[in-house]
């Protein structure tokens, strides 16, 4: 049986794994895929010590660092259930070939991150990957020379606007609020960008198309429906926690795992870190720090209880 299983292989999970390896725990990392949301982050300029990098490069460095510490990482595993029986956790799910797996551990660290939130409007599901995308850095290049719309009002939508302005012929940035919630440096860059047209107080109501997207509709602040001709729609309206598979776990009203300042959840021996938790700031460096905090808490727990 393992001392610890870390679920998730991005900032929180990998930072924890490096510490776990140095503590010589008997542990492994299981994950759907390496890098999580980090690899979709695009440019990264706020990780101390590295003035400029991107998500793929940083995730590669995480991987190399874990490998240098002989961390066992099993990718391609979809976790379906975590439950506690006695003082043992049972983790089960599916391998990439569809076969089932089950693991047992004394402690578990959940670092499963988030996935993009959807608009839930007509046309969105129908045109997913046919003009609707949730990843600007992945899919943006396919819209070279085209008119696109970005939906959102935070950092991700601003970063997307900056990136797409270099690729697309025109970018509409549609914010349902009268202001942006994000870093001023990004707001300034977008406001000064001649290719980006910001539309405030606009609620996107429909995605239009035939074989592919050819437009969107939004309600303006007077409630009038306005139509825009666009070929791409990039949705950056926030993210939702990947937290729906743990029996008895306490979540907040938006589905984030509640933890204390040491990463402890309501279930003794079960820890959580990074974007999946109720931390309001979804940042790579915060996730890393939380991962380490939770790991050290788990070590304390193991020392006291096993």
């Amino acid at each position: 049986m393992f001392d610890l299983i870390i679920v998730g292989a991005s900032a929180a999970g990998i930072s924890a794994s490096i510490y776990a390896a140095r503590r010589r725990l008997n542990f492994k990392v299981v994950a759907k895929s390496f890098g999580g949301e980090v690899v979709t982050s695009g440019e990264i300029e706020n990780w101390p010590g590295i003035i400029h990098t991107d998500g793929i490069e940083l995730a590669d460095m995480f991987k190399k660092h874990a490998e240098a510490n002989n961390v066992l990482i099993e990718e391609g595993k979809a976790i379906e259930s975590i439950k506690k029986e006695g003082n043992i956790f049972i983790i089960s799910g599916k391998n990439s070939d569809g076969s089932a797996f089950e693991e047992k551990a004394k402690t578990v660290l959940i670092a499963t991150g988030v996935h993009p939130k959807e608009l839930n409007i007509p046309g969105e599901k129908e045109y997913k990957n046919k003009g609707v995308s949730y990843c600007s850095v992945c899919d943006g290049p396919l819209f070279a020379g085209k008119v696109v719309a970005i939906i959102g009002g935070g950092n991700s939508s601003l970063e997307s606007a900056i990136m797409l302005s270099e690729i697309a012929s025109k970018v509409y940035l549609i914010n349902k609020n009268p202001k942006f919630k994000g870093e001023q440096i990004l707001i300034d860059k977008v406001s000064q960008n001649g290719k980006v047209e910001i539309i405030y107080e606009a609620k996107t109501s429909k995605i239009l198309g035939e074989n592919f997207v050819n437009g969107i509709e939004y309600a303006n602040k007077n409630g009038e429906i306005v139509k825009l001709a666009v070929e791409g729609v990039f949705v950056h309206i926030g993210r939702l926690s990947n937290s729906g598979f743990i029996q008895g776990i306490e979540l907040n009203e938006v589905g984030e795992i509640k933890t204390d300042s040491l990463g402890q959840t309501n279930i003794p021996g079960l820890y959580a870190a990074g974007d999946v938790t109720n931390i309001p700031y979804k940042q790579i460096i915060i996730a890393s720090g939380q991962g380490v905090t939770a790991l050290l808490s788990a070590v304390d727990y193991l020392n006291k209880n096993h």
Partner: protein, 78 residues
């Protein structure tokens, strides 16, 4: 067996798939659908969609990084 990957430079899943193929000793041809307009049109025509990565294994198409399907079509064990 001929393996082609249609991808974009900053796509994390494309990168992960390429790493996965390299680790398993599979040779592949890489098509950058950002810089190569012809490859972009070819990919969209083949799949009727614009998501990347797209993998073409002797005419069999996989959309997205699908480890299970790749393993199956390429005969990768473990």
């Amino acid at each position: 067996m001929k393996v082609k990957i249609y991808s974009t430079p900053q796509c994390g899943y494309c990168h992960a798939e390429k790493e996965f193929l390299k680790e398993n000793g599979i040779e592949f041809e890489e098509l950058n659908v950002f810089s190569d307009v012809k490859a972009r049109e070819e990919m969209i025509n083949k799949t009727g969609q614009m998501g990347v990565p797209v993998t073409d294994i002797d005419g069999q198409i996989i959309i997205g990084f699908d480890r299970g399907k790749l393993k199956q079509l390429l005969g990768i064990r473990n």
